[in-house]
Symmetry: C2
Subunit: 365 residues, 2 copies
């Protein structure tokens, strides 16, 4: 299939009428009887199939000409979900992208293989964590990062809420924490990176990414639900920047929490995060502080690791209130291409001891 | 109140426990018993009130220290809805921003008063429409725009789906349509503006805005649900650019369609669009192709026009399948600070005649 294939789950009656609404709304947004035969055939989406699961539940498969996307992620998102997001009872449950689309994107620069090489992690999962909590000053954050880097962690990210609060300004934090991680690396011949958050004003994001590189941070944290998926794509594809990127789910929850509307977990945190270039996709693991089911989490894993033409497989980071005790069970469920992310739980008791314990446990894989 | 006040509607049991989850999740995201008294008091949110509407429906009011936002819209969005978006059964139904927050933003540069002056529209509503459909070439789009500008329209926007499709590339379209609108303005001494869409790659948005200005477009269309609210804020606050901005709801629907999750209509399409600097907020009117109720639409109107410290009132554009026949009823419901937006319906029959009819009807207000 050389067209974009989108499956919309629809709850309601008359799926054929809704299918017609969607294929028009997502393309010409115009009375179809007023457009030429050529536009009807070339530009408007085509209903490929309607599967009625039950009287009130249907799956509508619509295909789109890749040309309606014009090669840009921003317009791809618009075709997938732009105006249809405003209609009740519709959820995107399938998204297949042809080579004509994926070839326009680079995807994860490092991905699974690239980060395995970078962190000399032949088979083991990655060890990641976060510096927190908000209110801590940059110096204390740097001390925390040093302890974690000395314990052998691969990546230490900013807590996603760290920005430019008066208690720790972005540039001072990035300077001190980067330095602390570099000192630890020098001490143990390590490869730890620090990912400062780029949840920053639109006009500062690119410069901040370069500043982070200059200060030796080594990686980036991005919140595409707030700064837009294309802010991540743009930095991921920047050959001069060339830093690994961790994608965080802030604000994106609304797209998945409803069973009747939004975008399926695998498509949002798997396919789209990956197309936009995240090397690691963070999402709330089942049984943590949030409420994803095992099946929804597994769907993310599959979409992150399965074949996708030229787009590299991406690490998954099931997170949100995880503990060291859950590591074996998580690896059983997700496999070893998992970037374990344990945050607050490491601080209960002695941080250095907990970090070492986690590091030892993981190095055995 | 000098703090940020957020009211979360919560469906479920034990609202006190959920209130504690939210106030921590939106700030320190860390076990609260492990942080200092100072962080607990200064950084973590405070539960101000819990109102139980019924056994399973509660309103939780939490206040936050403005310092947790650090003066940035990106982090404000994160505090309002970042990680809580991942929890089921929670919806933001109230948002009050103190002067310490609003003073960090400029809001709509033109707003109601500014655009009334610009378009010499002393009391009447604004007349706006869109060039469409996708698949039409730039020359034909320009001819369409000229007809609409000659009829006395104030603003003509790109259909929100127009990007860089092969049938009409952005720069050629902006050049030809801007020129056509300028020719019409010269002919009738008009003030019509054209708003090209900035739903473009992250690294092209700013340059495209300046290119649009240089080509004489006169205004901009932005899709904050895709490119991020802060992309709009950044351009709205740019004193050198200084162009009116129309905000479009693409992808934002998911935040409002569920009754149990997301963000209330007035907050999303009113408060946040306005804070981010939209001069005109487009949303689907009740009784059109979409499904907002009259009360939800009215909520947007109130949030767009009510007092908000230093932030200008914003035009509302109830749209989505509107017809000329509905104009009197819409003005009755929304008042005259309404930017009427009728698209496809103008093309049924004779475009020039329909446009003139709409223009005449509106000029009588």
């Amino acid at each position: 299939m050389d067209r974009i294939l989108i499956t919309y789950q629809y709850r309601g009656s008359n799926p054929a009428a809704i299918a017609d609404v969607i294929r028009v709304e997502q393309t010409i947004e115009f009375p179809i009887d007023l457009v030429s035969q050529w536009i009807q055939e070339t530009v408007v989406g085509k209903v490929e199939e309607i599967i009625s699961v039950s009287a009130g539940l249907h799956e509508i498969v619509i295909s789109y000409n890749p040309d309606v996307v014009g090669g840009e992620l921003t317009q791809l998102l618009n075709v997938v979900w732009g105006n249809t997001s405003l209609l009740p009872g519709i959820r995107v449950i399938g998204l297949e992208l042809p080579g004509a689309i994926t070839s326009k994107f680079k995807g994860p620069r490092f991905g699974v293989t690239g980060l395995r090489k970078y962190f000399k992690a032949t088979t083991r999962p990655l060890l990641t964590t976060a510096i927190k909590p908000m209110g801590t000053d940059a110096k204390a954050m740097a001390e925390m990062a040093k302890i974690l880097a000395l314990a052998g962690f691969d990546a230490i990210k900013d807590d996603h809420s760290l920005a430019n609060q008066p208690w720790s300004k972005w540039e001072e934090r990035v300077k001190l924490v980067s330095l602390a991680v570099q000192e630890a690396n020098a001490q143990i011949n390590g490869t730890c990176v620090y990912s400062p958050s780029l949840n920053l004003p639109f006009d500062q994001i690119r410069d901040a990414a370069y500043k982070a590189k200059e200060l030796g941070a080594g990686a980036l944290l991005m919140l595409p639900g707030i700064t837009g998926f294309d802010s991540m794509r743009s930095l991921a594809e920047d050959d001069e920047l060339a830093l690994p990127i961790q994608g965080h789910p802030a604000m994106l929850g609304t797209f998945v929490t409803s069973q009747t509307e939004g975008i399926a977990h695998g498509i949002l945190f798997g396919t789209l995060m990956r197309l936009a270039g995240a090397d690691i996709s963070i999402f709330p693991n089942t049984g943590g502080r949030f409420s994803f089911t095992p099946a929804q989490c597994k769907e993310i894993e599959v979409a992150s690791h399965s074949e996708m033409q030229n787009i590299n497989p991406m690490w998954i980071a099931p997170a949100g209130g995880m503990s060291i005790e859950r590591i074996p069970e998580m690896l059983e469920m997700y496999g070893l291409d998992t970037a374990l992310l344990i945050g607050g739980a490491l601080s209960r008791g002695n941080l250095a001891e907990n970090a070492r314990r986690m590091s030892e446990m993981v190095s055995s894989y």
